[in-house]
Amino acid sequence: MTATHLGMPAFPAAAREAVRDDVLRANLRRATHTIRDKRARAVTELADWDRLRAAGKAVKDHTLRHLDHYLLRLEAAVTAAGGTVHWAADATEANRIVTELVRATGEREVVKVKSMATQEIGLNEALEAAGIAAYETDLAELIVQLGHDRPSHILVPAIHRNRAEIRDVFRTEMGRWGRPAPDGLGDDPRELAEAARLHLREKFLRAKVAVSGANFMVAETGTMVVFESEGNGRMCLTLPETLISVVGIEKVVPTFRDLEIFLQTLPRSSTAERMNPYTTMWTGLGPSKGADGDGPAAFHLVLLDNGRTDTLADEVGRQALRCIRCSACLNVCPVYERAGGHAYGSVYPGPIGAILSPQLRGTGSGIDASLPYASTLCGACYEVCPVAIDIPEVLLHLRERVAQGGPVTREGIRVRIRPARGHTAERAAMRAARLLLERPGALRAGERLLSRARRLRPRRLPGPGSAWTDSRELPRPPREPFRDWWARERGGRA
């Protein structure tokens, strides 16, 4: 995905740094626990939550099964409404399309609505390389951008920062990008929000071009839908003359009515709100071009594949494409809470990142091969997911791919990949354990050996075992295994 994540250390090493960062752990713990408790309450308010969840899953599955059909339909509807549709197979192509579209307007800067897809392809960096400045307008994205930082959460990209850190970033950085922070800026949330509002206002009023993503695209009408909380997105979606939306192909839904489900499940799952404060919808071009749509003067839709059709070809893994990016799974994940979002080395962190990134990018790199193991399989993510993605199931499926290799689709071609490097010793150990466990005679002998050697039990183990003994004592082997007790006490009856 983005260049900024290349060369990431594998998850365990990246997580080690995060676990040792007490400020980060405290920030994350506070934020995730608050939102998860609120989410739980917001969800219990709906008596038909389980049915909404099943309906959301069904709509997404249906659309994914007939994705080619709905995308063509969408293209026809957007075109009929005066918009232009572009197809991008990968990040490079999408970045090239957007850069050319911006260049054609003659502008050197764009305002951005918070969007995962543009982060996924590294659009800001690509625009910068072409001499175009991209300004993030979502408050949390602004904090990340000003702080030369990377987002660490899908919905709250600056979740790893506390208020004092944000104040410092605003004080030192805002002036370099536009209107500086007011003198004596404090760390009160209202003060911070006001500073951001003033800083951004200038940009909204000046910008001629905006770049966005979309939460949903309606195939039947060609309508684009953005859910947000702040209203900054709406400013970008309505003020500039040209709007370029980069959207993953999995975001299409068949009809307007389908939105009804997600209008209920998405806000409750993400911000624990009953309804998101701003829902902006636009279809094709607006009245300034004499069209009867309600969009801007010029509208371009860039449909992004970037590994999605390959993911769709995998019968277990494809359910990850149901994701509506609500971030509920991040907020309940005990691993995310300790490791932080950056350890995942992707714009998609947490449980969904652990299954999405290795599918979109492949399992070739160290970080991608380690992500399916970045979970205890506790199942909390599956429990909260509003579209019922069985994340643990996909994790196991991807672990298998990493450990054993197997069939995958890459750029539309079915290939068999080999096991990831570095698993030789583990494979041998798994095999040895299986051979032992398959032969009760050998197992019994092994258990007795363990019992006899109980006095020799070391406090620290060498090699991979040291990972256990660094922080925990080993279990004490018993005097005799259970099967020996059974043979002695109840043997006559077996």
Binding site: L396, P478, R490
Partner: protein, 258 residues
């Protein structure tokens, strides 16, 4: 009634007292217990680490060893979840790979007969008061597989609440994972240790004497963390509490620390 005990490999090798407790408990409740000696491991370590092919022979062994028993009881939620959730998946994948339906058939034959201990007590035997006596303060950690994969609900708590002399204290954040996660504990040791430390902090804050669980793998991780920290709290498998009576209560105390 007769039931076969699937003791699980971890309990067989490291926690035989849990197996002994299940045998004594079930016998006390009038159940004749069999121990099919050909059993070994359900294959969970292999499967959960990504070695599906290595788990297949263990599926076969487990299903064959436990064949013919109308009730199979295991004192481990994660092993029961392995059988119930993943055996059918392993069978289906093998069939999809053109290797026949043998594994799928074995899985289908085994799954409906396997019970986690508290399910067997509450659902099959219909008891919540098992006649136990354990005069201690206890806090209960519901392991993730029991809680979410099996949906054990309040069965363990109801069983504990009926134990004479036992004072059950709620564990704050009980539903949060302890950080064991099988090979996760060695693949991601830092996160695992941080999670374990948070769990024992919550458990110690309850002031209970005993941290009870129904999965010895999680307890091994928590017990190891507690002992490294030198904390006075001790861990105990639910079966051992349910097996204790007036006569055994003093014997279980302190004499055989885990």
């Amino acid at each position: 009634m007769r039931a076969a005990l699937f003791v699980t490999c971890v309990n067989d090798a490291l926690y035989p007292r849990t197996g002994v407790a299940v045998v004594r408990l079930l016998e006390r409740l009038g159940v004749a217990v069999d121990f099919p000696a050909a059993q070994s491991c359900c294959g969970q370590p292999q499967y959960n680490t990504g070695y599906r092919y290595e788990s297949e022979p263990l599926l076969r062994r487990t299903a064959e060893a436990l064949a013919g028993h109308p009730y199979v009881v295991a004192p481990s939620g994660s092993c029961v979840a392995m059988i119930r959730e993943h055996y059918p998946r392993i069978g289906a994948r093998a069939a999809a790979e053109g290797r026949g339906t043998e594994l799928a058939d074995l899985a289908a034959g085994l799954v409906p007969r396997v019970y986690e201990l508290t399910e067997f007590l509450v659902d099959v035997l219909g008891v919540t008061d098992v006649g136990a006596h354990f005069p201690h303060t206890v806090t209960y950690h519901p392991s993730c597989h029991g809680l979410r994969a099996l949906g054990l609900g309040d069965r363990p708590r109801r069983l504990l609440a009926a134990v004479r002399g036992l004072d059950l204290i709620e564990l704050p954040g009980a539903e949060e994972c302890c950080g064991f996660g099988g090979t996760f504990a060695v693949k991601n040791p830092d996160v695992s240790a941080a999670m374990g430390a948070d769990k024992i902090r919550a458990a110690r804050a309850t002031g209970a004497e005993v941290l009870c669980g129904a999965d010895n793998s999680c307890l091994a991780h928590l017990d190891g963390t507690l002992r490294r920290a030198g904390a006075p709290l001790r861990t105990l498998h639910l079966a051992e509490i349910l097996a204790s009576t007036d006569t055994t209560a003093t014997a279980t105390e302190g004499k055989h620390p885990r």
